[in-house]
């Protein structure tokens, strides 16, 4: 696994070493700068270059239309593609859009759930990298309100 020296970035919050994982390099080791980008487009460019991204039904993004609360928005990502390599979520309106990434393994079910933080109403993107390195994208706008009594 290649390791980048990015002490020059002046940011000590990114770990230089990841956990010991078997297999190829990860987004974290290969494209650490992407985690610091303040726009989805820049982060996507850092990781995938200017490769074409196909908006199709291969990337499936499940999110509520209106988040009950922006601090914990349930999200499930999945793909029907066999042997997809990576799945990554970008939250456009967040200070740092690259939110979470998964490296799929042999025998992985290509479906992951977690809860994400959303600063405001914005688009959430899922990019799936398939076995051939082609990119598939799904986008969904999630409405986030701030404040309120709780009902």
């Amino acid at each position: 696994m290649k390791r980048r020296n990015f002490l020059g970035l002046g940011f000590t919050t990114l770990a230089v070493t990841a956990l010991q994982t078997v297999g190829s390099a990860s987004i974290m080791s290969e494209h650490p700068k992407a985690f610091l980008e303040t726009s989805s487009d820049e982060a996507i460019k850092d990781i995938y270059g200017s490769n074409a991204i196909s908006k199709d039904d291969k990337a499936v993004l499940k999110l509520p239309d209106i988040a009950e609360n922006g601090s914990a928005v349930p999200v499930t990502v999945s793909t029907s593609l066999e042997n997809a390599k990576t799945m990554t979520i970008f939250i456009d309106g967040n200070p740092r859009p690259l939110a979470v990434s998964w490296e799929l393994q042999e025998g992985s079910m290509a479906k992951f759930s977690t809860r994400i933080k959303m600063r405001k109403t914005t688009n959430v993107r899922l990019i799936v990298e398939d076995a051939n390195g082609k990119l598939h994208e799904a986008v969904k706008q999630v409405k986030v309100t701030v404040g309120g009594c709780g009902g």
């Binding site: 919050t13 990114l14 770990a15 990841a18 956990l19 994982t21 078997v22 297999g23 990860s26 987004i27 974290m28 985690f35 601090s71 914990a72 928005v73 499930t76 939250i91 967040n94 200070p95 740092r96 690259l98 939110a99 979470v100 990434s101 998964w102 490296e103 799929l104 393994q105 042999e106 025998g107 992985s108 079910m109 479906k111 992951f112 759930s113 977690t114 809860r115 994400i116 933080k117 600063r119």
Partner: protein, 98 residues
């Protein structure tokens, strides 16, 4: 910090739900105060086989909940969950699949 799990196997496919106690604090990164402290790598292994490899940021909610599945599992298998955060802290826990 604490890892709770509900991990089952049905027809050779494991369905794992984890709840990890961790502040996932964005701090200055999110325009707030204080130092960021968040899990930035979480892996799950079945023996030496890597079955889950996740790279969260502080955009993942506090006390992260994650759910995933993998093939080639059977009841009684033991998976090892391990996470590390940006401050170098970490935790490891073995979980038996039911």
């Amino acid at each position: 910090m604490g890892i709770k799990a509900i991990a089952k196997v049905r027809n050779g496919v494991a369905d794992v739900k984890l709840l990890v106690k961790h502040p996932m604090a964005s701090g200055k990164l999110g325009g707030g105060k204080g130092e960021p402290k968040f899990i930035n790598h979480l892996t799950v292994k079945l023996g030496s086989r890597l079955v889950y490899d996740m790279y969260p940021t502080s955009a993942v909610s506090k006390n992260p909940y994650i759910r995933f599945g993998f093939k080639g599992a059977k009841k009684g298998d033991v998976i090892t969950v391990e996470w590390k955060d940006n401050t170098g802290a970490g935790e490891k826990k073995d979980i038996k699949l039911k």
